[in-house]
Every structure is written in structure tokens, then in C-alpha cells.
């Protein structure tokens, strides 16, 4: 098995682009941590009315997850049409299932 010795042979332009990309990832991460902290603080301090807390928590979670998908998992990049299509289809099915199980299970 040939030893891999070409570790530096990456196009410098590409390398620069990768670096810029990585900076964006770091910003994304910082925002995710921030949202997490906000979510925990809201609950820990009980600063918000019960009626509002749950929607706010869910919105924070959805934004975080969107970051995760679009930046960390590169769904914003090209070549991800089919993955996005199937993810959205899955999410639609998921929402229907959760709605069904939450709304029409007890009466």
C-alpha cells in the first residue's frame, strides 16, 4: 500500500478558501453556543412567561439546527439538492408524525 506523501499538495487558492470557510464555521459555532446559553438562561431564571417560553425555546433550537445543517453539514453548498430534498421531506413527515402523536392521542 503506497504511503501517502502528498500532504501539502493542495492548491493554495483552495486552501485559502477552506480557511475562509473555517472562519465562518467558527462564527456559526459561537452563535450556536450563544443560543444554547440564552435557552438555558431563560429557563433557569424563569424570566419569561410560560406561554412564551416554549415557542422561544423551539425557535432557538430550530435556528441552531439550521446552522448545523447548512454550515457544519454543508447543505448550503452545491451538490446538495437531493440531500436537502430528502431532508425536507423527512422533516415534513416528522412534523406530521409529531403533530399526530401530540394532538390525537389523548381525549
Amino acid at each position: 500500500m503506497a504511503e501517502n506523501t502528498n500532504s501539502n499538495e493542495v492548491n493554495p487558492y483552495q486552501k485559502h478558501k477552506n480557511k475562509l470557510e473555517m472562519q465562518k464555521q467558527l462564527i456559526t459555532f459561537a452563535l450556536m453556543i450563544l443560543f444554547t446559553i440564552i435557552a438555558f438562561v431563560i429557563v433557569a431564571t424563569g424570566m419569561m412567561q410560560k406561554m412564551f417560553v416554549i415557542p422561544v425555546l423551539l425557535i432557538l433550537a430550530v435556528i441552531q439546527v439550521a446552522f448545523q445543517f447548512y454550515y457544519f453539514m454543508h447543505m448550503k453548498e452545491k451538490g446538495h439538492d437531493m440531500p436537502s430534498l430528502m431532508m425536507y421531506a423527512g422533516i415534513m413527515a416528522a412534523l406530521l408524525i409529531i403533530a399526530g402523536l401530540v394532538v390525537i392521542t389523548w381525549w
Binding site: 437531493m82 430528502m86 421531506a89 423527512g90 415534513m92 413527515a93 406530521l96 408524525i97 399526530g100 402523536l101 394532538v103 390525537i104 392521542t105 389523548w106 381525549w107
Partner: protein, 617 residues
């Protein structure tokens, strides 16, 4: 070449070949064989049901056994017969139709088959080990959680394992269709059967996880003492119904859409016309799949979900009739103005139209909530879904088998036997099930071990049983035809039907690399395009070169066998401590094989250009 070669080799070599094969065409043979075997089992169970119901208060089988038989009939026919047979046809034909050399994940393809087979075997082992599951194929909790013995455990483990196989198969087909189409084979040039395979796979991908979770919950309740469906500890049995039908309704479309696809191809071939309204057909398929996910609760109209939920689900359900209607009319329009050849494949397809239309009719009728309060869980519903599943899926499988048999095996099924089988089965089918619509409304609920005297149900049930015997005769003739063809069947040229799609552009049966040179697709019905332009064969899209092929592997078989052993461990750890041994050994085999697969590089092999040239005749 391959048939002659296999006949010369010993039995052991052939067996080993099939155990290790990753060739989609051979896996198709395995699926057809496995599915055919379970179809016979399910058919025998059906006959016992009909014999038991031949007269009032009959005692041919006992009440408990009857429940086991009806459960196994439904479960076997849906999971172990209809779906594998369809997956077999998909495997045999879809890669050829899109001009691919193989599927995207040949190894997983083989794993999918073996998981299905061992799952089916676990399920049927229950007959020998103290009784089969007896809570219906729907296994509603708490009847299923409280059912004594291990029957339902076998149901849970068997379906879990074979369900995993189906899920793997679905992902495999999706990636195959997206990544491996021949040059020029755009999405909107794919034959309808490939399209429906694609959409069916999407349905499998999103429907089966719900079954997986449902089965896990049931398994935890039965084997590990959890309380999901234990009302005393706050459990809720409606959750099972939801999860089951969230899976179960798309499952209905998983069964019917491939049949729609292959009927489209058959009508177009034998009417010598391109499919009428191709675009509409594709979008109707997508729409059916989309709507199919939001109608599950129409199986639960009488559960008491309330008028709002019932109305929403009723309207969504009725909406599905529109794309389905579009399909029926497009098929009729395809036939209109054509030059129709009627042979056995076409007979099954033609028989499908009135039968399925009746099934669709009753489908709209049961969607009407208040009317369904009367139909629900009676023989009306039994009649309805047999019209759809037998009239659609089984007719479809038989049509597909007659149509593609020459492609798969290089021999043509006997026409005369094929026609006799069709007419007997067709007559028997309507005799069996048409009357059941009325039996249901006359007050006969489904899953009844006996019906009582003096309730006006005697004649109808008798007629139904007579019909069932005719169906059985039809099936026997078909199987006789299969054997007859294998022994004495007539060899046929590569393109016996004057086909239109790519699978007819290669040899029958195809070489294991399918196409020596990947064909260039220049339009819908690519072969037909070449025929009308006078060439009659495909233009290659590439020069003759080395072909990269995957290696065979025994690992899928061993992995599935590991799960098979572990299944028994899971079931019996409730009673015996030693059952942890098979449990851990089985899971160890599974994980060990996964590790081997992960550590051992598998680069496949190449068929060189020279070899290909030598094979050319």
C-alpha cells in the same frame, strides 16, 4: 452464456454463488424465490381461513389457531410475499431500465435480501415453537402486549429484521437512480417502472422508521417490561395505532406504486404507443406518495379521534382518488388508438383495470367517514383491500413476471398455461371477494373465527370459499408453468415483445455487467427511438473499456444469520438466562462482520477490455 455455465457447475458451486452474490439480477432471483415461497405459505393460510368459513359455526380449526392463521396470512402476504416479489422485479429490471451496470450498493443489496429472508424465517419459526402471533397483522396493543406465549415476540423480531432489510433496499435504489443513470437518461426520460421504484423507495425511507420505532416499543413492552402501552402505568395504546398506520398507509402505496409503474410499461409496449400523458403520470405518482403520508388516520375513523381529525383525514384521503383517476384514464388513453396485442402479460394488465377501479371505488366509499362507521373492520374492508392488493399488486407482479421472464431467464412462459391461469384466477378472485362487500354490510365483521347460523351469511361465505379454490387452482397452474418453462420452455431472442425501454437492448439474460458499453439515451423510450430511426440498437456512450465490478461476499448472509440467532436470544431471555448466549453471540457475529467489512478494503475487480472482446459472439 450464464445459464449454460451454471448448469455445468455443481450444485455446491451454484449455491455458494447465490449465497455470496452481489449481482442485482441474481439477488432478484433470490427475492423472487423467497417471495414465492412465502406467497405459497400465505396462500395455504388463506385457504384454511376460507375452509373454516365455508359454513356457519365450523370447527375446522380452533379459535386460537384461527387467529394465528389470519395474523400470519396478513403479515406473510404483505411483508414476506408482495414486497419481496416487487423488490425482486425492481432489482431485476430497474438498473437495466436506467442503463446502469449494477446498483449503487451491491453489498447492501445482498444484505437487504438476507435480512428479509431471515426475518421471514424467524417469523415462521413461531409455528414450530409454541404458536404463531395471534393479534392480527396490525398487532394492536394491548391485545399484542398481553398475548400469551411468544407468538407476538416472533412477529416483532421477524418484522424488525426484515424491515431493516427493506429500508436498506430503499436507500440503495434511491442512490442508484440518482447517481447511476446512463448518459442522456434524464429524470423525465425514465421508464415509469423506474420512476415508481424511485418514489416507492422514498416511501420506504420515510415510512419504515415509524414501523421500526413501533416495533421497538412493542418489543420493550413485551420483553423488557416497559410501559408504553400499559394503561395502568400511564401508557397509551393509541400511540401504537398511530405509529403502525403512519407506516402502514404508505406501505399500501409501497405495494401499489411499483405495480402502477410496470402496468404503464406493459400497456405502452403492447399497445405499441408511448405512454399517454407521461408527465402527468409522473406527477400523479409523486402526488399519491405525498398525500399517502397524511392520511394514516383513515384507518382509525372509529377510534374516536373526533370530528375535526376525521374530516381532515377523510378529505385528504378522497384527494388521493384524483391522481389515481388520472392514472386510470391515462392508461385507457394509452390503449386508445393503439395496436393491442393480448398475451398473458397483457391479460393480467387488462384484468387489473376493472378490478382496481372497483377497489378504488370502494376506497373512496370507505373514506367517507360516516359510511365507514358501517364498513370499518367488516368484510367490506376485507373485500376493498383485496381488490386493491390482489387486483393491483398481485396482478401487477404476475403481469411483470410474464413480461420480464424472458429478460430474466431467456425463456418465455407458456402462453396457453398463462392464459388459463389468468382466467381461472380472475374468475375465482371476483367470486371470492365481490360478495364480501355485501357480507360486510350484512353484519359480518372481519377476523371472525365463526359466523353464527341464521344470520343470512351462509350463501355468501360459501360462494367466497368456492372462489378461493379457483384462485388456488390458478396459482397452481402458474407455478406449474414456471416449472414447465424451466424444463421445456422456449428460448427467446433478446427483445421478444418489440420493447421500447433499455432493458430490451441487452441480451437475455443479461451478462453480469449488464451493458458492455453504457448506452447513450436520446429520448423517452430510448430503444423505440432508435428503432423508429432505423438503427434498432443503442448507440454506446463510451468506447469499449475495462468494467469495474464489485466482489461477491458471504458477509451479508452471516450478518443476517447473526441477527437471526440474536432474535431467538431476545425472545427467550424472558424465560431462560442461557438465552443471553445466543443474544450476545448473534449480536457479536453481526458487529464482527460489520467490523470486518469496515477494516477489509474491498476494491472490486475489473473485467478487462480483452475479456469483453473475447466474450463478444
Amino acid at each position: 452464456m450464464s445459464i449454460a455455465a451454471t448448469q455445468k457447475r455443481g450444485f455446491g458451486a451454484v449455491l455458494w454463488d447465490y449465497l455470496t452474490t452481489v449481482d442485482h439480477k441474481k439477488i432478484a432471483h433470490l427475492y423472487l424465490f423467497g417471495g414465492g415461497f412465502f406467497f405459497i405459505l400465505g396462500g395455504l393460510e388463506a385457504m384454511i381461513i376460507r375452509i373454516q368459513l365455508v359454513r356457519p359455526e365450523n370447527d375446522f380449526v380452533s379459535a386460537g389457531l384461527y387467529n394465528e392463521i389470519l395474523t400470519m396470512h396478513g403479515t406473510t402476504m404483505i411483508f414476506l410475499a408482495a414486497m419481496p416479489l416487487l423488490l425482486g422485479l425492481m432489482n431485476a429490471v430497474m438498473p437495466l431500465q436506467i442503463g446502469a451496470r449494477d446498483v449503487a450498493f451491491p453489498f447492501l443489496n445482498s444484505l437487504g435480501f438476507w435480512l428479509f429472508l431471515f426475518g421471514g424465517l424467524i417469523l415462521n419459526c413461531s409455528w414450530l415453537l409454541g404458536g404463531a402471533p395471534d393479534a392480527g397483522w396490525t398487532s394492536y396493543a394491548p391485545l399484542s402486549t398481553t398475548s400469551p406465549g411468544h407468538g407476538v415476540d416472533f412477529y416483532v423480531l421477524g418484522l424488525q429484521i426484515s424491515g431493516a432489510g427493506t429500508l436498506i433496499g430503499g436507500i440503495n435504489f434511491l442512490v442508484t437512480i440518482i447517481n447511476m443513470r446512463a448518459p442522456g437518461m434524464t429524470y423525465m426520460r425514465m421508464p415509469l417502472f423506474s420512476w415508481t421504484t424511485f418514489i416507492t423507495s422514498v416511501l420506504i425511507l420515510f415510512a419504515f422508521p415509524a414501523l421500526t420505532i413501533g416495533l421497538f416499543l412493542l418489543m420493550f413492552d413485551r420483553l423488557f417490561g416497559s410501559a408504553f402501552f400499559n394503561v395502568a402505568l400511564g401508557g397509551n395504546t393509541i400511540i401504537w395505532e398511530h405509529l403502525f398506520w403512519i407506516f402502514g398507509h404508505p406501505e399500501v402505496y409501497i405495494l401499489i406504486l411499483p405495480a402502477f409503474g410496470l402496468f404503464s410499461d406493459i400497456f405502452s409496449t403492447f399497445a405499441k404507443k408511448r405512454l399517454f400523458g407521461y408527465t402527468a403520470m409522473v406527477f400523479a405518482t409523486i402526488l399519491i406518495a405525498f398525500l399517502g403520508f397524511m392520511v394514516w388516520a383513515h384507518h382509525m375513523f372509529t377510534v374516536g379521534l373526533g370530528p375535526v381529525a376525521n374530516s381532515i383525514f377523510a378529505i385528504a384521503t378522497m384527494a388521493i382518488a384524483v391522481p389515481t383517476g388520472i392514472k386510470i384514464f391515462n392508461w385507457l388513453a394509452t390503449l386508445w388508438g393503439g395496436s393491442i396485442t393480448i398475451n398473458s402479460a397483457m391479460l393480467w394488465a387488462l384484468g387489473f383495470i376493472p378490478t382496481f377501479t372497483l377497489g378504488g371505488m370502494t376506497g373512496v366509499m370507505v373514506a367517507s367517514v360516516v359510511a365507514d362507521y358501517q364498513y370499518h373492520d367488516t368484510y367490506f374492508v376485507v373485500a376493498h383491500f383485496h381488490y386493491v392488493i390482489v387486483g393491483g399488486t398481485v396482478f401487477g407482479i404476475l403481469a411483470g413476471l410474464h413480461y420480464w421472464w424472458p429478460k430474466m431467464f431467456g425463456r418465455i412462459l407458456n402462453e396457453k398455461l398463462g392464459k388459463i391461469a389468468f382466467w381461472i384466477f380472475f374468475t375465482g378472485f371476483h367470486l371470492t371477494f365481490f360478495i364480501q362487500h355485501f357480507l360486510g354490510l350484512m353484519g359480518m365483521p372481519r377476523r371472525y373465527w365463526v359466523f353464527l347460523k341464521d344470520q343470512g351469511l351462509d350463501t355468501g361465505n360459501l360462494i367466497s370459499t368456492i372462489g378461493a379454490f379457483l384462485m388456488a387452482i390458478g396459482v397452481i397452474i402458474f407455478f406449474y408453468n414456471v416449472v414447465y418453462t424451466a424444463v421445456k420452455g422456449e428460448k427467446v431472442p433478446d427483445d421478444p415483445w418489440d420493447g421500447r425501454t433499455l432493458e430490451w437492448a441487452t441480451s437475455s439474460p443479461p451478462a453480469h455487467y449488464n451493458f458492455k458499453q453504457t448506452p447513450l439515451v436520446r429520448g423517452l423510450d430510448p430503444l423505440w427511438v432508435e428503432k423508429t430511426e432505423g438503427k434498432g440498437k443503442m448507440t454506446p456512450a463510451e468506447p469499449l473499456g475495462d468494467i469495474h465490478m464489485p466482489n461477491g461476499s458471504i458477509l451479508p448472509f452471516i450478518m443476517s444469520f447473526g441477527l437471526f440467532i440474536a432474535g431467538f436470544g431476545f425472545i427467550y431471555q424472558v424465560n431462560y438466562t442461557w438465552a443471553y448466549i445466543p443474544l450476545f453471540v448473534g449480536m457479536g457475529i453481526l458487529l464482527g462482520c460489520m467490523l470486518i467489512r469496515s477494516l477489509k478494503d474491498d476494491h472490486g475487480y475489473h473485467i478487462t477490455k480483452e475479456e469483453l472482446e473475447r466474450e463478444a459472439d
